[in-house]
Symmetry: C2
Subunit: 294 residues, 2 copies
């Protein structure tokens, strides 16, 4: 049941992403480069979270769909720029050559820029086309814009870059992940709730939920970098260690890290109790995230 | 009179840009890098155009100010990314070291990303805070988002990148400039008009005006690259030729190019006749643009 519901949401998202990126304009290479990374096999976690939290409040999933896809465009732009030689200098992502390996650095930078811009184009157009819901859509957009900017994702990436030759403390590591990964996960969950017209109190609870699964998600990533299977991960195992990155695993050890993932997820799921049965899918999704192998 | 009015607008814009960028958050280096390029001595042409076109329709200039500044943030982001080693590889901009020369490539890429994101943050917040004018603000934002995306500025930059080892035809050169520079100039003028609540017919006329001065502006740039004074330009004269770039000057020659600038500007000014005396400032601004030395 859960797996089918998940697949259904993922398919909705794929279809909408294709619709958004189906552009027959010149210069074609930039659309090709953007599509290359958007359709490189992402799990669509963030947009699924957005749709699920909209459903939690019985909101109209069609209204959340463009918002969910805009978030995925922003997520993809951040991966393209993070992989650049001047940043993490990664050659592989999800088992495929990274964007700049295929299209060159200049086009990769511009493809990232294009996706960030496109995300806002989609959101603004959505607000303009739905005057009755414009305030909900703007609130969701505001949430996303904050999360993807310097107070969120970009701020986290800056700390990551600056830390490449120093050893982060646990507090700094947490700051980095809360900003680099956590902020957009939080925004995904809250944006869906805004679209559904949820009240501030519920959004506050969801924000806490999202912050917990965001952290669990990141610790799980660090664990997979140590014990994952390369084929499933689509990248080399041990790349964090190779780059000298501080991870949860090398601060707390493998066993304690695995325990943290379980505890954080349990705590997150407990927060969802207040929403009763309607939260079943989100609960299952939270467990799915910690059982993943890539 | 014109000079004072221009200065007054520029000061309003400076003050608002400082307000927007006055952020005391971690990591500070990213705010520093963004401010470095935003306050590197730009002429604020685009935001001045935006305010002026708002005034043309007796709109509230305070409502146009955040929009005008968002445009300047987008313009600055595009300069930072254009200057990167993977793109134009420029060391100097307005007489100062380019962003990546001071902060390194990684931070420069992120500072550009941060400014693009910040522009939309400013616009969305502005729409949320002004529910009575939200539709005007969203229309302006939509105009800007289109102009800065792949159908505008980014598309133009892609053609510029692709053309580095080929010889562009006049049509291709025109396409490049219409997208790379023209689109955002057009959006600046139209956004101001949207904020003032101008009717579509007037916006249509302004769009034509902006497209003419946008082209004149670019040809003037090409001329200055040949006959400008390095000290005033803040960069090396002849850099286009050095990079093997096709320019209006090497297609049409210096004399014909100068003539084109005058003719395009005259044609643009004629379009403004329909607005009577209120268009005086915009007319003088148009002439100011072709008389500039940097």
């Amino acid at each position: 049941m859960f797996k089918e519901q998940l697949k259904e949401k993922q398919q909705l998202i794929e279809k909408e992403l294709h619709r958004i990126l189906e552009v027959e304009e010149n210069p074609q290479i930039i659309y090709e480069a953007m599509k290359y990374s958007v359709f490189a096999g992402g799990k669509r976690l963030r947009p699924v979270l957005c749709l699920s939290s909209c459903e939690l409040f019985e909101g109209d999933i069609k209204k959340a769909l463009p918002v969910a896809c805009a978030i995925e465009l922003i997520h993809t732009y951040s991966l393209i720029h993070d992989d650049l030689p001047a940043m993490d200098n990664d050659d592989l992502r999800r088992g495929k050559p990274t964007n700049h390996k295929v299209y060159g650095e200049a086009i990769a930078i511009l493809a990232g820029d294009g996706l960030l811009n496109l995300a806002f184009e989609v959101l603004i157009r959505h607000a303009l086309e739905n005057p009755h819901d414009y305030q909900r859509i703007l609130k969701a957009t505001n949430e996303i814009a904050r999360a993807s900017g310097c107070k969120g994702m970009i701020g986290g990436q800056v700390v990551d870059i600056l830390s490449q030759n120093t050893k982060l403390t646990y507090e700094e590591l947490k700051f980095m992940h809360e900003h680099k990964t956590g902020a957009l996960i939080e925004a995904s969950v809250c944006a869906g709730a805004y679209i559904a017209g949820a009240i501030e109190e519920d959004i506050h609870a969801l924000r806490e939920y999202a912050s917990l699964i965001g952290l669990a998600f990141q610790i799980k990533d660090d664990i997979l970098d140590v014990i994952g299977e390369e084929e499933k991960l689509g990248k080399k195992v041990g790349s964090d260690r190779e780059k000298g990155k501080v991870t949860f695993v090398n601060i707390f050890g493998l066993k304690k890290s695995q325990q943290m993932v379980v505890e954080l997820t349990q705590k997150a799921i407990e927060i969802l109790d207040r929403f009763g049965e309607k939260a079943l899918f989100l609960k299952e999704l939270s467990n799915y995230l910690i059982e993943r192998v890539n």
